[in-house]
């Protein structure tokens, strides 16, 4: 293997690939590996937080209003408005990444909050929560019976 010149093509290809890999790993703003890991908090509902829990929260919490018009800004001190459609803009991403504590997503549509939570979580955000009215968000309010349906609540 003394003839390096003969292997120059091989070495060139390998170096190009290494460069591409380095570029890829060092840039942010793309999805992380292992979807199951980043979806984890949603499996045991530990990504939910109620208003009461938020008041008692001791850490640094950034409330992010993802509605289009920022309807919730007044309700929470220090809340910022990032409409969902501009959630991935560079400036907004910088704000989110710069925050050192927990980020709490709030909106009037639980479907929207859930979707934004999953999207951001898969991009590597930890300590990310959804503000919900109650902690039994996935509990059925009705009981199925032989004759028909009975309202439990």
């Amino acid at each position: 293997m003394q003839n390096w010149k003969e292997y120059s093509l091989v070495i060139a290809i390998v170096l190009v690939i290494i460069a591409m890999v380095l570029v890829k790993t060092l840039t942010s703003g793309h999805f992380r590996n292992d979807a199951e890991k980043w979806a984890g908090p949603s499996f045991n509902r530990s990504n939910l937080i109620t208003a009461g829990q938020l008041k008692a929260f001791t850490g640094e919490a950034l409330v992010v209003d993802v509605t289009a018009k920022g309807d919730f800004l007044k309700q929470y001190s220090g809340a910022i408005s990032i409409p969902a459609s501009s959630l991935l803009d560079k400036t907004n991403q910088r704000k989110l990444r710069a925050h050192n504590g927990s980020i709490i997503l709030v909106s009037d549509d639980p479907a929207l909050s859930a979707r934004m939570w999953m999207l951001l979580s898969q991009m590597g955000y930890t300590h990310l929560f959804i503000l919900s009215d109650s902690s039994d968000i996935e509990v059925l309010n009705y009981k199925f019976q032989e004759e028909g349906v009975k309202d439990v609540h």
Binding site: I17, M20, V21, K24, H30
Partner: protein, 200 residues
Amino acid sequence: MGPFTSVEGFPAWLDLLIAFLIGAGFGFALEQAGFSSSRKLAGMFYGYDTTVIKVFFTAAIVALVGSQFLSYFGLLNLNLVFVNEYYVTASIVGGVIMGAGFIMGGFCPGTGVSALSIGKIDALFYVLGGLTGAFLFAETYPLIQPLADAAYRGPVKINEVLGISPGLFAFLMIAAAVVMFWLAELAEKKFARPEITDQI
């Protein structure tokens, strides 16, 4: 071109055309490697000609490396790639039958077709025999279903079973392949049969 996300949304006819061109390329590669000769193929089992293992393993590791890198750079979606389901009994029994057929007939299904396309009569009968066998399998399926469906493991991948990352598995596979190529070259020297290899 499903898993390739960089070329999504091709019309059906274009997908089929690409499939046709890929198939044509494969057939061309088989023929120019000399795989239409049953003596070359049988040489794999007797040791005097190990081209088969070199070609097929090279193809496998190139595909392995290519697909992993394309997936890493976001061009290929490995979530969408079909993984064959593993039925242990069926794999073993099928492997034995195919191995016996390979060395007796001197062809395997793909090379049988490529030999047929250059006009070999024994390839014609081999392919007809293959089709008959497939037909018999379909007709007798209710009888052999317990055998065919036994020991189902699902679409498993080796790296999952071993608990290593796909990248590490790729490297081990390549290393194993290179070792095999080196052993194959040794075998060729040991089991040489110049009276056959000079002619094919």
